[in-house]
């Protein structure tokens, strides 16, 4: 029951966002070349790109839904499933890898109890890897939402994660 409630409340939350989506789409109406920009904005709004959003974007920019879906699945940044409140991204760029980011990733998977690409049950964290965030000088690095953490050690990972409610 509890999950159902959560789900429906999440859906209600989402429903409130559609008018804003319509505005965004209207700004780019009839310009298919703006698709990626619109998807960025839509994902910023919803946190992911549910089917209904895809349909609206397709219609507004006058492109087929399959094309929209094709673009979404091509790019790593876009997600069609709901994400956790905080995105934890461990950098597996070369410099980070050489400085031991694999161990940080292993620890993160162990601590959060999820694999790469997964989201914790309480929707608090999503775990992913990124290929270089350009903080090579501080390797190993990770990204939580927009915050970059450098010189991450597997031992202080838990402390960092705790800060994100």
């Amino acid at each position: 029951m509890a999950t159902d409630n959560n789900q429906s409340s999440a859906e209600m939350q989402e429903a409130k966002l559609y008018p804003r989506l319509d505005e965004i789409i209207a700004e780019h109406s009839g310009r298919p070349e703006d698709l990626i920009m619109v998807l960025h904005k839509a994902q910023g709004l919803f946190g992911y790109l549910p089917r209904k959003v895809q349909e609206k974007v397709a219609e507004g920019l006058n492109i087929s839904l399959s094309e929209v879906y094709g673009v979404i699945t091509f790019y790593n940044f876009f997600s069609t499933v709901p994400q956790g409140r905080h995105s934890v991204k461990i950098c597996l760029g070369t410099a980070c890898y050489v400085r031991g980011s694999q161990q940080v990733l292993d620890k993160a998977q162990k601590d959060l109890g999820i694999k790469v690409g997964g989201t914790t049950e309480d929707r608090r964290y999503s775990l992913d890897v990124v290929r270089c965030i350009g903080a090579c000088g501080l390797a190993p690095a990770m990204l939580i939402d927009d915050d970059v953490y450098g010189r991450v050690k597997s031992t202080n990972l838990a402390n960092i994660l705790e800060k994100y409610e």
């Binding site: 673009v71 940044f77 410099a95 290929r131 090579c136």
Partner: protein, 1017 residues
């Protein structure tokens, strides 16, 4: 800049932001206001200063003082001490990684002083959010010059003549590209900036956009003017939010100042610029894919031609350059092609920015002239390898590039030279890999990356890289076959030929490159099922054991000690090693250098814990005695009672053999007895350990020389089934300089042997030791103890190059030994046949040799004399194999016994060899390992299983500890071992390192991270 008495520049590159530079800026501003200095001192947030590893950092002008690794608490001291009182805050200055010397000024720091900044000229100097500061540094003057005094053709010609080539990786001449775009017919054209810096390990584009966005805007306007475009796009990756923010801001400012828009600078030239943000696809760095992505489509590459300059964005001619290429343009237009082309090599002009990262001390962005030797970038600018590890390779060019091994450190970094070595300059990612990087795994890492980023359009890339990945994974799991190497090469060649775009065509490069220079590592994984870097974890239980030549189960005994199970610990230790008390004192502990704990603070003191277990056992009655197999009555003769010979005897005895060791001297132990002085290895400890070997049935016959008292013929006749040669390397090498025959000159091993056998009991006056190895340091410390008034060590390279153990060098200095580095002896001076001094010259270090160390060369006219009453030459030892005369055993050019790598068989039936007489002078642990290996090979020879004892592993591998592990996994330094106070070392050979007490040992052992425990899948 406004006229202020001082400027505080706070680096606000992305790396420093993440290290907390904003808090520091705020704290500094607050303190300045508190002190009422706000009208005199200006605080500026700049772009990346370059030295990311030192961040957060601040630069204070006019002095140019650099403060590093700041915290907000440091603000008060900086403001009150430096800005108010004019006193530099020593504590916060940069420290040279090797010498730990503090360096106040930016200009004197190696990292900065070896750079030439053209692309990064404004990064870290100006506030990137202020167009006025950009203009104050001649910003937009180049655009004005181009628009008002140059024709479009002249602009293109200038770029052409400058020799600038594409910095994104292609290296195509930029001027040519501009010319083609100019010549391409069409009313509408675009200029595009590729800021999709996807190559992992490269971040110069990010830094330029964050630190100097106007330089790119200005350059794009110049390019648009030259080729005839009115609209430009910057395609920037979404992973760079700060760069996007600053670029958006800068474009707004440029529009406001009319550098963008209609009628720029009151000419007829119109140009505007928009940003397009990527969405996380590596392939979009490829130009055709990038343009599809700007059009809002899937970023899949298409075949070329047509090239973008003919048919590009929205199917019109498009000029596409990368960020760094553009950032060069304003300076070229302002200063002229001739000025620019003074930097670099014949074919590679100008400078190149490298993102230096990985296992190097100074990470960050560096800009050097093209053609700078790779080794200079890594060791001068980069400050060398982190944690004094060994350089293994530099990876240039990311997933499209390759590795450059140690023997090519002198290569000039330019397009042609790097390509010749199978790598590419690429976008300038320069990742340094040290001995802890496994090259098979490294190749797997890149192929994994490519496999994931392959867009899937063409099968060679999509399927080919998948197959390569499967093979590489197999090899790193120890399931590879030798033919896999050929398969990899075949696949790689096919993919290179057939893939559609640059991503696929270059995808095999990391594999080909590692196969070219590190084939041995592939073979090691395939044949030996061993990963010496300690990375491929399916091949071992824990990296400590993996690193030990004797295969000592270190994780096991450390965990047993942590639980107070000392008896079990020694039983486990003695499965692999009969000399724990010895090696617990003198081992160079390769286990510790691979210990995962080092990533948190310091490695577990594995070596000292072994000593602890051994010492406890020795003090127990009865002490541990291993179980031996039932006797098989096979007699084996072992020549030499050093660590290799005695270890072989031990393992043979365990297996039921009857080994007899024949020793030429009157004492057992070989170098352990006559090489290592008592203060490092007390004789009673050594003898007790040797007794535990003879106790299990090993017989030692003294004063028996092979080739004289016994021969192979006599031994075989006496019923010995096999002979193991383990005679070590006891012959000191001559200096090869005039005068060394004088009295008072000795070689290191001879001197130490005489000291250890009590033949020399006194040294007088000034003793000069020549060499930098353990023998040199042992000789120096022994001479000091025997009464020498002054002991100096001369070494021809730098201290970090000395092969002696660092802790031994430290102790020697601590005791008063003077170490003179970069000094080489020329001649021994003597009077009446007795040595009086050494004529020396000073040395300088030049090019890198094959071992990755810089070769020393004489500084002309630097000669000087050092007084000496005794000279000890410790520059190396050789095995003395003269006794083999007539035995028909093959000897190598290095005067060592030639053996089969796997069986240590010396080529003649029944003959084996182990230890220093095979390896040349090496370590004790390697000698023990060789002895073990030879014993197992001999066992196989006689029909045994050749397996070393390993009774406890299966039980230990799941061992879970009883204490709160989490508590010990927080940062916690290793337990200190006490040392004999200096005053008590005078004129004696008492042991210096005193070992752990039980409680300290248990605490130390608890620091183990138990990385042998694997998650059960």
């Amino acid at each position: 800049m406004e006229s202020s008495r001082a400027h505080v520049l706070v680096c606000a590159g992305a790396a420093c932001v993440s290290s907390g530079c904003r808090e520091i800026r705020d704290a500094v501003v607050n303190k300045i206001v508190e002190q009422g200095l706000q009208d005199e001192i200006k605080v500026i947030e700049t772009g990346c200063i370059g030295s990311c590893d030192l961040g957060p950092l601040a630069l204070i002008y006019p002095e140019g003082v650099l403060y590093q690794k700041l915290t907000p608490q440091d603000a008060e001291e900086i403001v009150v001490e430096h800005l108010l009182k004019g006193r530099v805050v020593e504590r916060l200055l940069y420290k040279e990684p090797v010498t730990a010397k503090t360096i106040p000024s930016l200009k004197e720091i190696d990292f900065f002083k070896n750079q030439v900044k053209i692309v990064l000229r404004n990064c870290g100097v100006i506030n990137p959010q202020s167009i006025d500061e950009y203009i104050a540094r001649d910003g937009y003057f180049a655009l004005a010059k181009a628009l008002t005094s140059m024709t479009r053709e002249e602009v293109i010609d200038e770029v052409l003549k400058s020799g600038l080539r594409g910095r994104g990786g292609g290296g195509f001449p930029t001027g040519m590209k501009w010319k083609f775009a100019y010549q391409s017919p069409g009313d509408v054209k675009y200029v595009v900036c590729n800021a999709d810096e996807g190559d992992p390990g490269a971040f110069m584009d990010r830094s330029v956009l964050e630190g100097d966005p106007h330089s790119v805007i200005e350059a794009m306007a110049i390019a648009a003017y030259a080729v005839g475009a009115k609209q430009g796009y910057v395609y920037i990756r979404a992973e760079y939010p700060l760069a996007i923010e600053r670029l958006v801001w800068a474009i707004g400012q440029a529009r406001e100042y009319k550098f963008l828009g209609k009628k720029i600078l009151d000419t007829d030239f119109d140009f505007d610029l928009d940003i397009r943000i990527g969405a996380g696809a590596f392939v979009c760095g490829e130009e055709t894919a990038l343009m599809f992505s700007i059009e809002g489509k899937r970023g899949e590459p298409r075949p070329r031609p047509p090239f973008p300059v003919v048919k590009g964005l929205f199917n019109v001619p498009t000029l596409l350059n990368n960020v760094e290429t553009y950032a060069n343009i304003p300076s070229i237009i302002m200063n002229g092609a001739a000025w620019y082309s003074q930097y670099g090599t014949e074919k590679s002009k100008g400078t190149k920015v490298f993102a230096l990262a990985g296992a190097v001390n100074n990470t960050g962005l560096v800009e050097v002239p093209m053609g700078t030797p790779l080794g200079d970038i890594i060791f001068n600018v980069g400050g060398g390898i982190k944690n004094k590890k060994k350089y293994k390779a530099a990876q240039l060019g990311g997933p499209s590039g390759g590795c450059i091994p140690v023997e090519h450190l002198n290569v000039p970094v330019d397009y042609e030279s790097i390509t010749e070595l199978g790598a590419i300059v690429g976008s300038g990612g320069l990742i340094v890999a040290d001995e802890d990087t496994c090259m098979v795994d490294f190749a797997r890492f890149f192929v994994d990356f490519i496999q994931e980023e392959s867009c899937g359009k063409c099968p060679p890339c999509r399927i080919g890289t998948k197959r390569m990945l499967e093979i590489l994974k197999r090899i790193s799991h120890g399931e590879g076959k030798l033919e896999d190497i050929d398969n990899l090469i075949e696949l790689a060649t096919r993919i290179k030929d057939a893939a559609l775009c640059g991503l696929g065509q270059t995808a095999p490069n990391p594999v080909l490159s590692t196969l070219r220079f590190f084939k041995d590592e592939y073979v090691e994984h395939i044949v030996d099922k061993h990963c010496s870097a300690g990375v491929c974890s399916s091949l071992f239980d824990a990296p400590c054991q993996n690193a030990c030549p004797t295969d000592q189960n270190a994780w096991g005994y450390v965990t047993l000690i942590s639980e107070g199970k000392f008896k079990e610990a020694i039983a486990l230790i003695k499965e692999a090693n009969p000399f724990p008390a010895v090696l617990g004192r003198v081992c160079y502990h390769p286990c510790e250098s691979k210990c995962r704990r080092a990533q948190i603070d310091q490695p577990v003191a594995i070596c000292a814990l072994k000593r602890f277990a051994a010492d406890v056992d020795m003090a127990t009655f009865p002490s541990f005695r291993p179980v031996t197999a039932k006797s098989n009555d096979i007699k084996v003769a072992i020549i030499g009672a050093g660590p290799a010979g005695l270890s072989a005897a031990y393992f043979l005895a365990l297996k039921g053999y009857k080994p007899t060791v024949f020793e030429a001297l009157s004492v057992p132990g070989g170098m352990l007895a006559v090489g290592i002085p008592d203060y490092r290895l007390p004789r009673d400890i050594l003898n007790a350990e040797i007794k535990s070997i003879t106790d299990i049935g090993v017989e030692i016959k003294y004063n028996t020389q092979f080739g004289k008292d016994i021969t192979s013929e006599s031994l075989f006749k006496d019923g010995y089934g096999a002979i193991l040669l383990a005679t070590g390397a006891h012959k000191g090498q001559k200096l090869g300089i005039p005068g060394e025959e004088a009295s008072g000159v000795a070689d290191g091993v001879t001197f130490l042997r005489a000291v250890n056998l009590n033949e020399i009991v006194k040294t007088e006056g000034k003793v000069v030791v020549i060499g930098g190895g353990n023998v040199a340091i042992d000789a120096a410390r022994a001479a000091l103890r025997l009464g020498a008034e002054e002991v100096s060590v001369l070494y021809r390279r730098e201290r970090d190059d000395m092969p002696a153990y660092a802790e031994e060098i430290d102790e020697a200095e601590h005791e008063g030994v003077k170490i003179h580095t970069l000094v080489a002896p020329d001649k021994i001076i003597s009077k009446n046949g007795k040595v009086t001094g050494v004529e020396c010259t000073r040395m300088a270090l030049g090019k890198f040799d094959k071992s990755g160390r810089r070769s020393p060369h004489v500084i002309e006219g630097s000669g000087f004399t050092i007084d000496a009453d005794m000279v000890i030459a410790a520059i190396g030892q050789l095995p003395d194999l003269s006794y083999l005369n007539g035995e028909g055993i093959k000897v190598t050019n290095n005067n060592t016994v030639e053996v089969d790598k796997y069986t240590l068989s010396a080529g003649k039936e029944g003959f084996y060899a182990a230890g220093d007489n095979v390896r040349g002078p090496a370590s004790v642990v390697e000698a023990v390992a060789d002895g073990k290996k030879a014993a197992m090979a001999i066992d196989v020879h006689f029909g045994g299983d050749g397996l070393a004892p390993n009774a406890f592993r299966d039980e230990l591998i799941t061992m879970v500890v009883s204490y709160d592990e989490a508590e010990y996994q927080k940062e916690r330094k290793r337990m200190e071992m006490s040392h004999l106070p200096l005053a008590k070392r005078f004129r004696n050979f008492n042991e210096v390192a005193l070992g752990y007490q039980a409680n300290a040992a248990v605490e130390e052992a608890k620091r183990c991270l138990h990385c042998y425990l694997r998650e059960q899948e």
